[in-house]
């Protein structure tokens, strides 16, 4: 946590108090936001499908999730006879804890640019409006999303029945496939920002919409990130993990009561966190105009509005797009997204290198184009040779 000015000279009780308060606020915020996210999704989808949706518990059904949560608490906790007792209990916690942890590095406020570096003063101490700002910030998010796979995978295996197992095997294959595209889209942002710290990434985007990485990275990384994130979250149209028509309920078929609630919580929490990450990486985080007074207030409002826009997009996806078939999913991930983002990664690296070393425009891009042409020719020749060998074998057989 070297980045946060809170910890620059020594730590005393006040610093620990501020830290504890930040953790508590982030935790509560996520829980409450998840509660309303479930309601938001159900209400929005019913609007898009000409239904009414939850409308009984509380005004406009706002308390529906709360009622569901209470119900979950009082249900019997079932465990299948074949289940592996220890791993069956462990899996929901892995899912929930990783979902909570990744939110720690997201900056949720603070005004950046024009002299201010995003610090906020609490009790006479300067600090960032994020729980932690480790120097490896964005890698922590990727690490957490790769650990989250364990929750799904172990849940499916430990249930000791076939549908959850198929669901979890699909989930792990899908997560591994799309993590590569997700990671490389993040690397493009890291190259542009020159830092891994989430605070640094937001600070690098300060100063107007044109500096937001969604535009200065050329939109492609953002689109790849959005698609890969949807797949990583197992949200429609990539929800093969729990395809109701094929797998009953997917990896959590055998879970009931509060353990199921933990999975449910983790799923929606991850949607919120992923939206927050996209806002941080590509949309300048809390950047936005300070309208009047209160400089600490407006950035948080802009941040929340941007996150809300992404939550809407995720729900919109779910309401409108049909589920992909398994081979289409793999085709999209390996043959389209990864080559595209690899190409874009090299292009952005070359662009940055040229700018840093002041190389000649024509020479740089000319050399790159020739190298690309030779590479493509070699690849095509190899593919054609492989095809011919395959055809020969077929004719012989």
């Amino acid at each position: 946590m070297t980045g946060d000015p809170l910890f620059i000279d020594g730590v005393d009780l006040v610093d620990i108090g501020i830290m504890a308060a930040k953790v508590l606020v982030a935790f509560t915020f996520l829980l409450v936001a998840t509660m309303f996210m479930v309601w938001f999704e159900r209400k929005l989808i019913s609007d898009m499908q000409n239904r009414i949706g939850p409308n009984v518990a509380g005004p406009w059904g706002l308390l529906q999730t709360f009622a569901d949560g209470v119900k979950f608490f009082f249900k019997e906790d079932l465990r299948p006879e074949n289940a592996d007792p220890l791993v069956f209990r462990l899996a929901p916690y892995i899912a929930a804890v990783t979902a909570f942890l990744s939110f720690a590095v997201v900056p949720i406020g603070g005004s950046f640019g024009s002299g201010s570096s995003g610090t906020v003063t609490i009790f006479g101490r300067e600090t960032y409006l994020q729980v932690a700002d480790p120097p490896i910030g964005i890698l922590l998010l990727l690490a957490m999303s790769s650990i989250a796979v364990y929750g799904v995978m172990l849940a499916g295996w430990a249930s000791g029945s076939k549908y959850p197992l198929i669901g979890s095997v699909r989930a792990s294959a899908q997560a591994i496939s799309y993590e590569a595209a997700l990671g490389m889209a993040t690397v493009v942002v890291v190259i542009l920002a020159g830092t891994l710290s989430t605070h640094g990434i937001v600070a690098a985007q300060a100063g107007g919409i044109t500096r937001w990485f969604v535009l200065s990275s050329g939109v492609v990384p953002f689109i790849v990130f959005l698609i890969a994130a949807t797949a990583e979250l197992n949200r429609p149209p990539f929800d093969l993990v729990e395809a109701e028509q094929e797998l009953v309920g997917g990896f959590h078929t055998e879970y009931s009561s509060i353990r199921f609630a933990l999975f449910f919580l983790a799923e929606f929490m991850n949607v919120i966190t992923m939206s927050a990450i996209m806002v941080t990486l590509f949309f300048g985080g809390p950047a936005g105009p300070i309208l009047f007074g209160m400089t600490w207030f407006w950035p948080t409002v802009w941040f929340l509005l941007k996150v809300l826009a992404f939550l809407f997009v995720f729900v919109w996806f779910r309401a409108t797009l049909p589920r992909l078939r398994y081979d289409q999913l793999m085709h999209l991930g390996w043959k389209l997204l990864i080559p595209l983002i690899l190409f874009w990664l090299m292009f952005i690296s070359l662009k940055e290198l040229r700018a840093a070393n002041d190389w000649n425009w024509i020479a740089t891009y000319g050399a790159a184009f020739i190298a690309l042409a030779i590479g493509t020719a070699l690849l095509l020749a190899g593919l054609r040779a492989g095809d011919r060998a395959f055809q020969d074998e077929l004719e012989e057989a």
Binding site: P135, L139, M153, L154, G160
Partner: protein, 164 residues
Amino acid sequence: MVAQNIFFGILSAIVIVSALRMVTTRNIVHAALYLVAVLAGLGALYVLLTAEFVATTQVLVYIGAVMVLFLFGIMLTKAPLGNEMEMTGKQWPLAALVAALLGGVTIYSLLNGFGSDRLVTDGPVYRTADVSDEVFSTYIIPFEAVSVLLLAALIGAIVLARKD
């Protein structure tokens, strides 16, 4: 330093116990999970040494990719639930001997090389940029060699697996 020592003790205990359980447990998925615990504990030890980048790489590569593939393979092939199989092979004394020898050599070379050196507590913090500068300048040839080796292994695996 006191806090570091306490956490070092706790983490080492976790790593050692998990390592022992990994080789003694009879459930193959549990063994893989204990291996995850060992790798996670090592990652935490790297954090204690202020090598945060190495720690996250440990989590991303070993826990996030290698062990997921391990478990993936185990679950698809042989992980009958609740079926405790005999997992101790006939050559276990030989394997124990090799492990002991390897451990001995490592400990000896560490003691020989660093012996009474103390960890510099207020030394430089290694930033990710430093690590990448080293990898792409001083160690560029080993780095490229490893990349080519991995690519060859990947293609080799596909050639072996394809039977058409």
